[in-house]
């Protein structure tokens, strides 16, 4: 163990020994590579940390921030209400109020005490058996009842049933009920318009719900607003042209008429002569929009707009107006209506009350078929067709109301002579009551035609001249003579007011043939005559009483409607006649 050469320098551990640190045994010989490896490892660890930091900071920042936000931010749903519908005077016709839908987790609800469930069924106004049937389901979410009003919800909340919850929604209320429903329409549970103006104006009425992000504190109070993620938009309110008072008058008149004349249905329309606004649109039978559980198609039908019928004699003034306008006749031109019979293309056309000679005015007053056929023979079919087209017959009107009927007017080239003759007194073509009433605007105004509107308009629309003011005035005089004891519409007289109009009776087409027992009686009138304010159209479908003609069923309905409507809007009387003379056997128009 002895070493030959002692170490020099270095610490000496013992005087006689070698320096401790110099001991070759203890001398650690580290290989050079180890320190280098260590250095690299350390460096790599730092690099990994750096990369990780870079990754968190640079690459996945968004994800992490989102995760962070979701831990303290809340998103609130912001509901939007559907716009209200109002009449022209601001009376509410349809409005949405918040209600709640009651839903359940069946398993949890069924576990609660039976007496609570009985009470719940009572509050929801449904038989308990039915409610249990709904709960007997594998699903974890079951609607028990939708559109439950808030006061009921408050009572349900007090029961504290486990697994029962509510969801906010809106319910539409229609305070005017069945009177206004054909105008306003209604919405589904999902707030989507189904009929009438609710359907037509769905886009502007509907509200768009939004949402906003907030930070809430421990007490659930919102402490900071982080802005909208989507701004809510309430639906726009809609002001209709309809006048609640006139609508009620029209509805009552038509309802009474349908009951009195034992008719299948009836419809009435009141138009504002100056603005083309629809002031009233009534149908009977009708329905209550607040309770639609027993709704039938017959009740839903809007006969003014979607139903077409053959207008009958109502169209005669159009033929006469065209003849006057083209100077082919004057009001005093005399026609030989002979024995009240004329044969065209092998078909006989008859008058029910033959008069040997009639002037143009007389033809309208007595509603002579023969006379009007004779006038129509002076007019080429093409001109007649052009007038019908200008008046909007045969085209679906576009006034922003759903489902308008176009009616039917065949192209003039295909008219056979007998068909043309029939058309002159309103057979062989079909129109809706709306189209018919609108065409009478040319007489009520000074020969021009304006578009109709179902929403309130502020200024008078520009008209399109169709006949001259002179012709319009001449036809107005004739229409007034119809509503006199000598005319076919003696029952349309209104005490205190001068009114004018024309009756129409058409046989209904049953199984492709003209029926001898089913008729449509109609009347379109203008009131008051001195300064026209309203065009009023009335239609009574299939009256089954002693009278069935337009003069018999529709004219008195018009009189009733017009009298009340004129009084309701404070139109000063323009006639001193307050006693109405109706002949014992009033003149009826021919079929």
């Amino acid at each position: 163990m002895k070493r030959d050469k002692p170490f020099t320098g270095g610490r000496v551990a013992a005087s006689k020994g070698m320096a401790f640190s110099k001991s070759p045994v203890l001398a650690v010989r580290l290989p050079d590579w180890r320190s280098r490896v260590m250095l690299i490892v350390l460096f790599a660890a730092f690099a990994a940390l750096g990369l990780r930091a870079l990754w968190l900071q640079g690459m996945s920042t968004q994800f992490l921030q989102k995760q962070g936000k979701s831990r303290y931010e809340r998103t609130l749903e912001l509901p939007a209400t559907r716009g209200k519908i109002m009449d022209r005077n601001g009376q509410v016709l349809a409005s949405s109020l918040p209600v709640k839908a009651v839903w359940a987790i069946p398993e949890d609800v069924l576990a609660s005490p039976p007496e609570k469930l009985t009470e719940l069924a009572r509050l929801l106004e449904m038989p308990e058996a039915e409610m249990r049937k709904k709960l007997d389901s594998d699903r974890t979410f079951v609607y028990l009842k939708r559109q439950v009003e808030m006061d009921v919800i408050a009572k349900i909340d007090k029961l504290k049933i486990n697994g029962l919850d509510t969801r906010k929604e809106y319910k539409r209320f229609y305070p005017q009920g069945e009177v206004m429903t054909h105008m306003v329409g209604f919405t589904s549970v999902e707030d989507v318009g189904q009929e009438g103006m609710e359907l037509a104006q769905q886009k502007s009425l509907v509200g768009v719900p939004g949402s906003r992000r907030v930070i809430k504190d421990r007490l659930g109070r919102i402490v900071e607003d982080l802005g909208f993620s989507k701004a809510p938009h309430d639906g726009k309110d809609l002001t209709l042209s309809v006048d609640s008072k006139l609508q009620y008058i029209a509805f009552t008149s038509i309802k009474n008429a349908v009951e009195k004349f034992n008719a299948k249905a009836g419809a009435a329309l009141v138009l504002d002569v100056h603005t083309g606004e629809v002031l009233a649109l009534a149908n009977y039978p009708t329905y209550n929009p607040n309770d639609r559980s027993k709704l039938t198609g017959e009740q839903l039908r809007n006969r003014v707009i979607t139903d077409v019928y053959e207008p009958g004699s109502i169209i005669k003034p159009m033929t006469v107006a065209l003849a006057l306008e083209t100077k082919r006749v004057t009001p005093n031109t005399v026609f030989d209506t002979g024995a009240g019979r004329i044969v065209i293309g092998g078909h006989a056309i008859r008058d029910s009350h033959p008069k040997p000679m009639l002037t143009t005015s007389g033809i309208i007053q007595k509603s002579s078929n023969v006379g009007v056929v004779k006038i129509s023979q002076l007019i080429p079919p093409q001109e007649m067709w052009e007038l019908y087209t200008k008046l909007g017959f045969g085209q679906a009107p576009r006034f922003g109301f759903p489902g308008p009927a176009a009616g039917r007017v065949r192209p003039w080239k295909s008219w056979r002579p007998v068909e043309y003759a029939n058309m002159a007194f309103g057979h062989g073509l079909s129109v809706s009551l709306l189209q018919m009433a609108r065409s009478y605007m040319i007489f009520a105004r000074n020969g021009d035609m304006i578009p109709l509107s179902f929403v309130k308009v502020d200024e008078e629309p520009a008209g399109q001249q169709i006949i001259s003011p002179k012709t319009a005035a001449q036809v107005r005089t004739m229409l007034e003579s119809v509503v006199s004891p000598e005319g076919t519409a003696s029952r349309a007289q209104v005490a205190g007011y001068r009114v004018g109009g024309k009756t129409g009776t058409a046989q209904k087409i049953v199984n492709g043939r003209y029926s001898q027992t089913s008729y449509v009686g109609s009347f379109v009138g203008i009131a008051p005559m001195s300064k026209p304010r309203f065009v009023i159209a009335v239609m009574v479908d299939d009256p089954k009483g002693a009278v069935h003609t337009g003069g018999g069923v529709a004219a008195p309905t018009f009189a009733d409607l017009a009298a009340n409507a004129l009084r309701a809007v404070n139109v000063p009387p323009d006639s001193s006649i307050t006693d109405i003379i109706i002949p014992e056997t009033p003149l009826e128009e021919s079929l």
Binding site: T81, K84, Q91, V92, L93, S95, S96, L97, P98, F173, P175, Q176, G177, V179, R221, I222, V223, E224, D225, S244, K245, Y248, I249, A495, G496, N564, R567, P572, P573, T578, D579
Partner: protein, 91 residues
């Protein structure tokens, strides 16, 4: 000299910090108040809609006519028993 400046600056900093805390506190309170009032406003809107609806329901022409006829014994007006007065007096 620089010591004094540091003290003044530190005091200023603390004061700023405290006012910030206070401002935040105030802001939150005002915000909560705003929220509460907005909630009230929404509720009032709903009440308004409800009242309009009630008005329309109670002011229904049908109901008015019914009450006028049965409770008040009123009858419809006829021109036969109406006296019309023209403006400008009797002529």
């Amino acid at each position: 000299m620089s010591n004094k400046l540091n003290i003044v600056l530190a005091a200023g900093l603390i004061a700023c910090g405290l006012t910030l805390v206070n401002a935040r506190y105030q802001a939150r309170h005002l915000f909560i108040e705003l929220e509460r009032l907005q909630q009230t406003s929404r509720q009032l809107d709903i009440d308004w809609a409800q009242l309009q609806l009630d008005q329309s329901t109670l002011g229904k022409n049908e109901r008015i006519e019914q009450i006028a006829r049965t409770n008040l014994n009123m009858t419809p007006l006829t021109p036969a028993r109406t006296q019309y007065l023209t403006t400008g007096g009797a002529r």
